[in-house]
């Protein structure tokens, strides 16, 4: 720890330097990181609200494992849809990481293609979420109440997944736009594919948030 703060540690040098504190980080990327930090606070506040409400209601909390179970081919499998959604999102994170890599390797076509795949996976995630919402609504789950227990189950579910879903949808659009621009060679002149990495940061963040929602909302 001590060496971190010593005069010539890289940390102190960067902060004490002129022009920029994050050496070699483009404006766009710096801004995306700061935005994600702010967004972290948004999702954390949502989750804190969820935690507090869940811990302080006297009604029993519905068993997520059961509520989100599906019967597939006669088998009753708990949480299966959520598991699939999780895998899809992780897959999309993988393809996104590849796209970033391709971008830096100046493989324009591959990068764009991988981004399209990512967007497609993202879209299918949103689709499954829509399916999940429909199913729950058919079963009588509403923001103001549900047949399984505490009303806040429905409220937090729609709020938290809805907000995450909005982020995914925005990400899909963002990815599509950037991918298209790459395909058309917009960034060829400057030879700078950082834009892919920036889009990637956002996309991975959406995945990251899902990791927490999966753990705290569905598994807990």
């Amino acid at each position: 720890m001590a060496h971190l703060l010593s005069e010539d540690s890289q940390l102190v040098k960067d902060w004490a330097s002129d022009q920029d504190a994050f050496k070699g980080v483009s404006w766009g990327k710096a801004m995306m990181w700061i935005f994600l930090l702010s967004d972290t606070f948004i999702f954390s506040s949502f989750l804190v609200g969820y935690m507090t409400v869940r811990m302080s209601v006297t009604e029993p909390w519905p068993n997520a494992s059961e509520v989100f179970a599906l019967t597939i081919a006669g088998h009753h499998i708990p949480l299966i849809l959520i598991a699939i959604m999780t895998f899809i999102l992780i897959t999309s994170s993988g393809t996104m990481a590849m796209a970033v890599n391709m971008g830096y390797a100046r493989k324009r076509k591959q990068a764009a293609r991988l981004m399209f795949v990512t967007a497609l996976l993202g879209a299918s995630f949103v689709g499954m979420q829509a399916f999940e919402w429909t199913k729950l609504i058919e079963e009588g789950v509403r923001p103001w109440g549900n047949p399984f227990g505490a009303a806040q189950f429905g409220s937090t579910f729609f709020m938290v997944t809805g907000f995450h879903g909005l982020h995914v949808s925005a990400g899909v659009i963002y990815l599509l736009i950037v991918a298209r621009k790459i395909q058309l060679g917009h960034y060829e002149k400057e030879g700078n594919y950082q834009i892919v990495e920036i889009a990637g940061l956002y996309w991975h963040f959406v995945d990251l948030v899902w990791v927490f929602i999966f753990a705290f909302f569905y598994l807990w």
Binding site: W15, A16, S17, D18, Q19, D20, A21, F22, V25, W27, A30, M31, I34, F35, L37, S38, D39, F41, I42, S44, S45, F46, V48, G49, T52, V53, S56, V57, T58, E59, P143, W144, G145, A150, A151, Q152, G154, S155, M159
Partner: protein, 570 residues
């Protein structure tokens, strides 16, 4: 760089940070004047009951709510971050503009939209919300409070839009400070103005999310019938469908935003006033490093003191110990700032220019406001004082007077750079004296009404035995003073207009200041700020009265002489 040509692209759809700054400031001041008028109406009712015909208790609570909300969010936050932040950051760190000018422009338009939505709430059915600027549920959305149908909805939506605007602007300011400084400009060579705004912006980016989330959750409670903040209640004899929520949760989320928010409006004032004092006392700011660290510590600490607004809220009472300690610890870095301001004056060469008058008045009013904060932070002392006029006096001194004085001083100080002309000194001095003495007369006695036990947010105090007639008389006196001060603000506005056309020509650097904004090739600076070449910085921003120089200031761009090591301060 091709100059934008038409009026529309130059002044309306402009992406130039300086134009955006002026747009932000004008909008904020207009909103502030609305809030000022509301405060006068409130004071009329309190000092001279029933003197305003339409002022029934509903209208009073609506005026009070909108007054508080506009002043804190739409005036101070917007003016300091959107106005001063936009104008000063690129100029003071030696950048050509904000890093993403288009986003910066959007930020303003979203802000304007939020103000329009807010003002629209005056005209919606049921009028604006009257739940207090803290918007506590359940009353904010239940009958019995004014504006529970449309007022509260427009208010929450307006806040959400404001947060989007503040985020877009804030990302720009932070990134610009971190990544777009000119050669030689280290963080420790930035003027304190930039430091204050920079840290305040970071805090805004981290605190507004909590407000955003609570606004969303309350909207859901109101519109969808969810029960985040709503337990089972029987409102006006009617059992409602809500069940199981927690009103105290809202208060925690609100103040997790709310306390940092009060420092969001204080830190830029701290920064700006440091520069004003230093320039006009012709002396370096005393203990610059400590000043920077104090700003940073205050910023960090303010995220762990929020529940000092909730000592009597029915939360877990043992939290009182934790929050009383953290709250009073904040006094230490704040005290450092105060000491360093006054020590800067000591052995200075104090020019009592108008900005300096405002700056010194700031110290005095801030100290009394801060010290009364210590009463409130000390949990047991807060218990009798909470929700009384003592609190109102505290936050007006510390927030309603002192940062406003800084704004007056700062506009006075930078007006020559923005317009090329000086403001008028006579009008400036008249305005200063009325405002400074007047606000003391308003708020100093108000503390005693609070100690006496008069609760805040009371529309009237009829027939309370413990309130003597003399207290009512004092209330009338306070109101009279408030009206005088409010009217005096016309002087300042008039000055802004008059001097724009008639003011004395200023020249590039009328105050003899060192920081970069005074070294631009043109005054007012043009699009792109620096002409051909970006400036290069060789020293900190406070080289005033340096021994061995003829002038009593050395601009930041002036290279160090060979024989001196690179400046006293990094």
């Amino acid at each position: 760089m091709n100059e934008p040509q038409s009026f529309w692209t130059k002044y309306v759809w402009s992406q130039d940070h300086k134009v955006i700054a002026v747009q932000y400031s004008i909008t904020a001041i207009v909103a502030g004047i609305v809030a000022l008028v509301l405060s006068v109406l409130m004071r009329m009712q309190l000092g001279f009951p029933d003197s305003v015909p339409f002022m029934d208790s509903e209208a009073y609570y609506q005026a009070m709510t909108l007054h508080g909300m506009i002043m804190v969010i739409y005036l101070l936050t917007a003016l300091f971050l959107g106005g001063f932040g936009n104008y000063m950051i690129p100029l003071m760190v030696g950048a050509r503009d904000m890093v993403f000018p288009y986003l910066n422009m959007l930020s303003y338009w979203f802000y304007l939209l939020s103000v329009i939505v807010l003002m629209a709430s005056f005209f919606v059915p049921g009028g604006p919300t009257g739940a207090g600027w803290t918007l506590y549920p359940p009353q904010a959305i239940l009958t019995g409070t004014p504006g529970t149908d449309w007022g509260i909805i427009t208010m929450l939506i307006s806040l959400a839009i404001f947060i989007v605007a503040a985020t877009m602007g804030g990302l720009n300011y932070v990134t610009t400070v971190l990544q777009a400084r000119c050669r030689g400009m280290t963080l420790m060579r930035m003027p304190l103005t930039v430091w204050g705004i920079f840290v305040a912006t970071i805090m805004a980016l981290l605190a507004f999310p909590a407000l955003f989330v609570s606004a969303v959750m309350m909207l859901f409670d109101k519109l969808l019938g969810t029960s985040f903040f709503m337990p089972a209640v029987v409102s006006m004899g009617q059992a409602l469908d809500y069940d199981g929520g927690s009103p105290v949760l809202f208060q925690h989320l609100f103040w997790f935003f709310g306390h940092p928010e009060v420092y969001i409006v204080a830190l830029p004032a701290f920064g700006i006033v440091s520069d004003l004092i230093s320039v006009h006392a012709r002396k370096n700011i005393f203990g610059f490093r400590m000043m920077v660290w104090a700003i940073v510590f205050i910023g960090v600490l303010s995220f762990v003191v929020w529940a000092h607004h909730m000592y009597v809220s029915g939360m877990n009472p043992y939290f009182g110990f934790f929050f009383a300690i953290t709250t009073l610890v904040i006094a230490v870095p704040t005290a450092i700032k105060v000491y360093n301001w006054v020590l800067t004056l000591w052995r200075g060469d104090i020019h009592l220019t108008v900005p300096m008058l405002y700056a010194i008045a700031f110290i005095s009013t801030f100290v009394i406001g801060g010290l009364t904060g210590l009463f409130l932070g000390n949990v047991i002392v807060d218990i009798p004082l909470s929700d009384t006029y003592f609190v109102v006096a505290h936050f007006h001194m510390v927030m309603g007077v002192s940062p406003i004085l800084v704004i007056f001083g700062a506009i006075y100080h930078w007006y020559p750079k923005i317009t090329g002309r000086m403001l008028n000194d006579t009008i400036g001095k008249t305005h200063f004296w009325i405002t400074f003495i007047g606000t003391y007369a308003i708020y100093f006695p108000m503390h005693y009404l609070g100690i006496l036990g008069m609760p805040r947010r009371y529309y009237a105090y009829e027939n309370y035995e413990f309130i003597p007639q003399s207290a009512h008389d004092l209330n009338s006196f306070i109101s009279a003073m408030a009206i005088v001060v409010a009217v005096a603000q016309v002087l300042y506005i008039y000055n802004l207009f008059w001097s724009y056309w008639k003011g004395k020509e200023a020249g590039p650097n009328p105050w003899g200041a060192t920081s970069l904004e005074w070294q631009t090739p043109q005054t007012p600076p043009v699009h792109g700020n620096w002409g051909e070449k970006l400036p290069e910085v060789h020293r900190w921003a406070y080289d005033y009265s340096v021994p061995g120089y003829d002038e009593d200031f050395v601009p930041q761009t002036q290279p160090q002489p060979e024989d001196r090591p690179a400046g006293e301060m990094a």
